[in-house]
């Protein structure tokens, strides 16, 4: 059985996701035309790529129809009330960052915290004999967050799009929505409560715990996750090469200590050739240090991949599947 890998077909997440896949050597080839929603990855015979919306990806992961997918943390929590039972996040990806927040009209000068909102909700119900309405598409996140804050006197009005307009349109009193800069909220005369950030979301690489994981699917996953981890590892370092006679264990120990460098291929060769992996922010200090110790030339390179012995993302997947 093939492994199904779902990637976003549209929306804000698409461009960043494509960049990530290119870098990780997982660039998909779409079928016959742009209308084809299935594709392949050259060199990975048993992987089928499904192009879906990010929210469909979360749903299909929960249903077990997709093995691996790129989707938002917010959508994982919205697709099922118990994400940890059905899904496992293998790694956050650092893009599509946004916050899910509780926002109320700016005119509510008496409301700054969730405790205020709680009180206003009780007052609203006592006065209007109906519950305060919260417009949102985030049913699960809203319910669990409001529950944690003890807010019971409210009801959700489901909103598929343009949620921020709901209070002005009279469709709801407040909203729970996703925001990156808060500009849209401000333009709609809404403000985020001081303790109203429900979740800091970003794109994650997610595996389904409910999918059928055949040996072949696991092998494909191991291959893909190895590429992804190696690319991520490569981004955290630059390769530094040099050659000089004084390069001995003492100099290396000092370089490790001061600059956090690693020696992936061991100490200097007999001719004094030395290869180091160094965090990008320490590059200039390291190159100065090496020349002070006698190096004449130091070259620095970007790396595409750093493959190691271990496969940490795969290990996380395997551990999660072993857990009942």
């Amino acid at each position: 059985m093939t492994l199904v890998f779902a990637i976003p077909s549209k929306g804000r997440i698409l461009e960043a996701a494509q960049g990530f896949l290119d870098r990780s050597g997982l660039k998909p080839v779409q079928g016959r035309g742009v209308r084809d929603y299935r594709g392949t990855i050259p060199g990975l015979d048993h992987v089928e790529v499904a192009f879906l919306s990010a929210s469909d990806i979360a749903r299909e992961l929960v249903a077990g129809n997709v093995h691996l997918g790129l989707t938002g943390l917010d959508l994982m929590h919205e697709a099922t009330p118990e994400p940890e039972d059905r899904l496992v996040s293998l790694t956050p990806l650092g893009f599509s960052r946004a916050d899910v927040v509780v926002a109320v009209p700016q005119a509510w000068i008496d409301v700054r915290t969730m405790a205020d909102l709680d009180d206003v909700a009780s007052q609203y119900r006592a006065r209007h004999r109906t519950r305060m309405r919260v417009a949102t598409k985030y049913l699960n996140l809203t319910r669990s967050f409001f529950d944690r804050h003890g807010i019971a006197d409210y009801r959700i009005v489901e909103s598929a799009g343009a949620t921020e307009g709901a209070p002005a349109a009279g469709a709801a009193e407040l909203i729970v929505d996703i925001t990156t800069t808060g500009a849209t909220l401000a333009a709609n005369a809404l403000k985020v409560l001081d303790d109203g950030v429900i979740m800091k979301s970003e794109a994650h690489l997610v595996a389904s715990r409910t999918a059928q994981w055949s040996d072949r699917a696991l092998a494909s996953a191991a291959d893909m996750l190895d590429r992804i981890a190696s690319e991520a590892r490569a981004r955290k370092v630059k390769e530094v090469r040099t050659r000089f006679r004084a390069a001995d264990d003492g100099v290396l120990a000092e370089a490790r200590e001061r600059f956090g460098v690693e020696t992936p291929f061991g100490g200097p060769t007999s001719s004094g050739m030395l290869t180091l992996h160094c965090p990008p922010k320490a590059i200039f200090a390291l190159s100065r240090f090496l020349r002070e110790k006698g190096a004449e030339t130091v070259s620095v390179m970007e790396l595409d991949y750093v493959f190691g012995k271990d496969n940490p993302l795969y290990e996380r997947l395997a551990a999660s599947l072993a857990r009942s």
Binding site: V104, A107, I109, Q123, R129, A152
Partner: protein, 381 residues
């Protein structure tokens, strides 16, 4: 998952016969009802358990999650909404339940429009005990509470409106309530954000202060935003000034804890409450008198109150109960959950008349029978 069964047992039929004989009119509301109404009445805690669907016009409908809402709705929309009525029901209701069938049978009764509240309360309990006997000869444990006692206590304490609302809301949630009481006992810690303005306004003529804040908001071009008028906002803004002026005295907090700690039989509870109230100089007479009258009527109806439990803390998991709350448990412990649950829900009918645009007060009390649990308690399932 066990398969759903809606077939009624011979005992269920006997229960229906007993209720009919006692003068309850059998209500047969439709299975489908507007989801919007239900969500608004029960809140999100139960709304997530609804079975939802849509009609051809896109209006959202749900399968009835209980009988109370549709029975009360039919009564309020009917020609006799202003008269007293007694209804019974028996049939399937629908809720998502983890690991259990979503469709199950429920029976119950509702007494609507009875202004002799305590008499109606006592009638419901007496018939509930009698009806449970259709299923089981085993021991039955009656557990009682009265939300009205706690509400009368927080009114008598003279707390700011903000605190009254919070305590009333958290009453059913013991963790939150404990937290509230701890915070009430603390002297006012940090002031609200607009402390300067609030301090300046504190103690000034309330009407003038409200007008000032309302004016400030209207200068900013704000009228009614998000369902709250500028006057609403101004009023609560000023209430916060009241909240800033200090905590509840330690002896008063101790009284709250004494009242909430009460856990005895209903007759002793009545005596102890009178004692606590008189020692603390709090006027809770009306609420305690209602408890006393209900107790007397229950004894007159032959209910053995010495074996019943009364707890001030006892509340059921929906927030529209306003007075009596009660459950009947299986004394043998064979059925782990309550066999019968009910109470006074004047707040629900209040919300419904508001929704229907009726100018009516409809007192309401009733209870639901978990017929499948009753069968278990009787050793028949």
């Amino acid at each position: 998952m066990p398969t759903a069964t809606t077939s009624l047992s011979a005992l269920d039929i006997s229960l229906a016969a007993l209720l009919a004989e006692a003068g309850f009119v059998r209500a047969e509301p439709p299975l489908l009802m507007p989801a919007d109404l239900v969500r608004d009445l029960v809140g999100e805690a139960l709304a997530r358990r609804l079975y939802l669907t849509t009609d051809a016009d896109g209006a959202e409908l749900c399968l009835r999650p209980d009988y109370t809402i549709p029975v009360v709705q039919a009564h309020l929309e009917g020609p006799n909404a202003r008269e007293a009525a007694a209804y019974s029901y028996l049939g399937p209701v629908f809720r998502h339940r983890a690991g259990m069938a979503g469709e199950f049978n429920q029976a119950g009764i509702e007494l609507l429009g009875r202004t002799d509240r305590e008499a109606a309360d006592a009638e419901v309990i007496a018939i509930a005990l009698k009806a449970a006997r259709v299923y089981t000869d085993g021991p039955l444990q009656l557990v009682l509470g009265d939300v009205g006692i706690f509400l009368s206590l927080i009114n008598a304490l003279g707390l700011p409106a903000v605190w009254r609302r919070r305590l009333a809301k958290d009453f059913r949630r013991s963790g939150m309530l404990a937290d509230d009481l701890r915070r009430l006992a603390e002297p006012a810690a940090q002031g609200p954000t607009h402390a300067g303005l609030l301090a300046a306004l504190e103690g000034s003529d309330p009407k003038a202060a409200r007008e000032l804040v309302t004016d400030l908001l209207s200068i900013a071009g704000i009228t009614t935003v998000g369902g709250r008028s500028a006057a609403d906002i101004a009023e609560r803004f000023l209430e916060q000034a009241a909240l800033g002026s200090g905590g509840l005295a330690a002896d008063k907090v101790a009284v709250v804890e004494q009242v909430l700690g009460l856990d005895t039989d209903p007759v002793s509870a009545e005596a102890q409450l009178r004692e606590i109230a008189s020692r603390a100089g709090l006027d809770m007479t009306a609420a305690i008198n209602r408890l006393a009258e209900r107790n007397a009527l229950l004894v007159a109806a032959g209910v053995d109150l010495s074996a019943a439990k009364f707890s001030t803390r006892f509340g059921r998991d929906v927030d529209y109960y306003t007075g009596l709350v009660f459950e009947i448990h299986d004394g043998s412990g064979r059925a782990g959950k309550p066999l019968v649950g009910g109470g006074r829900y004047d707040r629900l009918t209040d919300m419904m008349t508001a929704k229907l645009g009726l100018d009516l007060k409809v007192p309401a009390v009733g209870c639901a029978f978990w017929v499948e649990r009753l069968a278990v308690a009787g050793g028949r399932a």
